[in-house]
């Protein structure tokens, strides 16, 4: 199972729990799933808070790093005012893998 497939699986699971998630972006990596989730359910933090979760084989054989952002904090990322972790690459390297509605 590829990281991209696992990323889409996790994005769907998270969206099913949090109906406020509007978009999920994936930062491609070979051995880890890195996600940015934009949710209207959370408040502005003004900072990026990455959390790394354990694998859960067989469905999720990779570690996953998830950054949950408010829409306003996501706008700050897009504007370059909030910097993504180096391992996530630049904003333009992200791929949108899920969108609400």
């Amino acid at each position: 199972m590829s990281p991209e497939v696992v990323a889409k699986l996790l994005a769907g699971e998270h969206m099913s729990q949090d109906e406020g998630i509007r978009e999920v972006y994936w930062a491609p990596a070979a051995n880890e799933v890195r996600l940015i989730e934009v949710s209207g359910s959370v408040g502005d933090a003004g900072e990026l808070l990455p959390f790394r979760f354990s694998p859960d084989p067989p469905d999720v054989p990779f570690h996953s790093v998830v950054i949950l952002l408010s829409p306003r904090d996501w706008e700050r990322v897009v504007a370059g005012d909030l910097k993504l972790p180096d391992t996530f690459g630049t904003f333009t390297a992200l791929e949108r893998i899920a969108k609400a509605g």
């Binding site: 998270h14 949090d18 408040g43 808070l49 959390f51 949950l68 972790p85 996530f88």
Partner: protein, 167 residues
């Protein structure tokens, strides 16, 4: 220079020590129980950030939103919840809101207003203090469910932290 993983372990172990203190207090002093649980959650949130491998020690240890965001993420993740033996809906409906309120009540965020640790002055000039006057502290009293529920969640997170946030 110490690695983030060293800092993470230290934050986790101090959180567990704070948790043992909270267990001793229980609901005898509701405001102290609320303060201790907030301190445990703050340290667990920072330990989890430090284990992400995606942030600096300075950024993780200076965050004032780590606990709230950690619990929000846990409530979205049924796999992590299964490891903790908690239902995502319980975290979302009952745990996350109280964690957010506790986090906003820490002195650094209270801006001189009502907080978990120190007296404050209200708009009429009266001096108030947490044990008597802080609304959220009253929810941790012996006849309320908030304290026991949050204490059980935080205790489980302390015990199973490594299974959710790997080192």
């Amino acid at each position: 220079m110490a690695a983030p993983s060293d800092w993470a372990l230290a934050y986790l172990e101090q959180a567990r020590a704070d948790m043992r203190g909270a267990d001793l207090v229980q609901a005898e002093e509701p405001s102290v129980l609320a303060m201790l649980l907030q301190m445990v959650l703050e340290k667990l949130g920072k330990a989890a950030l430090l284990r992400s491998g995606q942030t600096t020690v300075a950024a993780a240890t200076s965050s004032h939103a780590a606990a709230t965001r950690m619990v929000q993420l846990l409530s979205n993740d049924r796999r992590a919840c299964r490891r903790l033996d908690w239902q995502p809906m319980v975290l979302r409906a009952h745990i996350a809101p109280i964690v957010a309120r506790l986090e906003r009540s820490q002195p650094q965020l209270a801006a001189g207003g009502p907080c978990l640790e120190y007296p404050w002055e209200d708009p009429t000039g009266a001096i108030l203090w947490p044990a008597r006057d802080l609304a959220i502290a009253k929810e941790f009293g012996p006849k309320r469910n908030t304290g026991p529920l949050l204490r059980r969640f935080v205790a489980d997170l302390c015990a199973r932290f490594d299974a959710v946030f790997p080192s």
